[in-house]
Symmetry: C2
Subunit: 315 residues, 2 copies
Amino acid sequence: MRRLRDVGEHAWLAHLLARLGRRRPTRDARILVGPGDDGAVVRGAARLVLTTDTLVDQVHFRRGWLTAAALGRRAFAVNASDLAAMGAVPRWALLALEASPRMPVAELDALALAFAGAAERAGARLVGGNVARGPHLALTVALVGEAPGRIVTRAGARAGDAVYVTGVLGASGAARRAGRLPEPPRRTRAGVALARVASAMIDVSDGLVQDLTHVCRASGVGATVEIERLPVAPSCRRALGGRAAAFAATEGEDYELLVAVPAARERALRRLAPRLGCRLTRIGRVTRGRPGVTLVDGRGRRVRLARGGFDHFRR
Amino acid sequence: MRRLRDVGEHAWLAHLLARLGRRRPTRDARILVGPGDDGAVVRGAARLVLTTDTLVDQVHFRRGWLTAAALGRRAFAVNASDLAAMGAVPRWALLALEASPRMPVAELDALALAFAGAAERAGARLVGGNVARGPHLALTVALVGEAPGRIVTRAGARAGDAVYVTGVLGASGAARRAGRLPEPPRRTRAGVALARVASAMIDVSDGLVQDLTHVCRASGVGATVEIERLPVAPSCRRALGGRAAAFAATEGEDYELLVAVPAARERALRRLAPRLGCRLTRIGRVTRGRPGVTLVDGRGRRVRLARGGFDHFRR
């Protein structure tokens, strides 16, 4: 098996660039200088949306949990999710890899080509990157996106807004307990559509309660979520039983969109909903008062959870 | 001493964003959404230049070699160097950190604030980032730049062009042998100026011979370098003696600019030279033939080197 140390950084990159060049389905006239130089040169846009996120081996994934190709797709998807939460679509991608010299070249190839493929399916292009020696595998992605319409931040939620979430929650957490890591949902189309009516939006990466808390803090509002309304994934219900809803409320990496919508835009939302490409569930409302999330049961009684969500440095 | 695990990811980020907000000297009207959301939103430009590079502990630096603030500045500088080599100036910066939970908060603060300060001094802004748990410290930067004028790649060198290098070579390698890592030179202004006359340009990050080989391959040309003409840093001469020139030809991380200039633009280059803010030395010429670099002594005799330059995965 050929490993990175057998081939070397520069030969591997040259080989990868050749493969990328061959498989490219169409030329993109907006790329003036593609990968392989000190920087890529692309045509700009009036507004750019920039984001970056990292996946680290043993922290965000374990090698046995997914294939190299799935890891490449995932690195793109989790970053595209951040853009979707702004109402933006990805356009240009940079992929910075850290890898051990012992990393098999075939795996690194599969990872990079799958990343490029995921970018292309989303309308974006891998235009640059880097590979550095590191203690173990890590993928840092930077995306430059564009917003076709309205841009939504975390900061616009107002008391009285309804709170919605796309898709289902808890599937990723349940799979992780079983040593798997499912593909994140693609919510770019939903994000662009929801941005037309949302007062605030975020993607659920650290767990619903924690991410809604981020929205509350940025907006200076509180929020109440009815735990029984949460769209808990069937796989999560099967694995967690009676604890499934609490688990789904706090487990991270669902990459669904959490949206606040003013009452005045509810009609417009109902018109949009069939075209989102995913389920949309009303789970609560934005309230006055101290920033924070209150979970309640069907009778309005407060539910307390043991943990709040994912934080990289506290457990 | 407070460490990252005592504070947590979200509290540290909130604290950092508050400090960044307070120290910001002027508001930038081109930032529509600053750091702290899922993405930053900035006003675009007609042409964007994108680059990314990573610094990994124990690979690119050791903690004892430089302060946390110097490391933050360095992470910005090595990326700005890639933009300079295209003739571009940095405008927007993303900083993705991997850090151990044991990392002292004061050091991470110093690192991030110094990064932001370096960006501002260069006319850029830190608009987003990420912090993830990792086995040890790593900094991945993505820069979005703009080119005020002509953009230069590695691919335009033609036989007969003269080869120049800015500044001095070997200083970084000599310092590294002594357990230090000096600040990279700032060549943004020189890069923009040289782009007006250059046929090809690259920054010297892997060593002069190797980086000139990259230019040769991209341009389909050869190059001859007179080793006695190399602007060897005095510190390198002192440390390496008779081996200084060969050392300076192959050691990486000088972050000087290596430029090919057609004969027809030599007069324009002479007019530019006094305004580059650094020395500029003619070291060789571009030749016909197989891509590769030939080193010669003062009498034109070929000089062979033991090693070619830096490759992350081969030693």
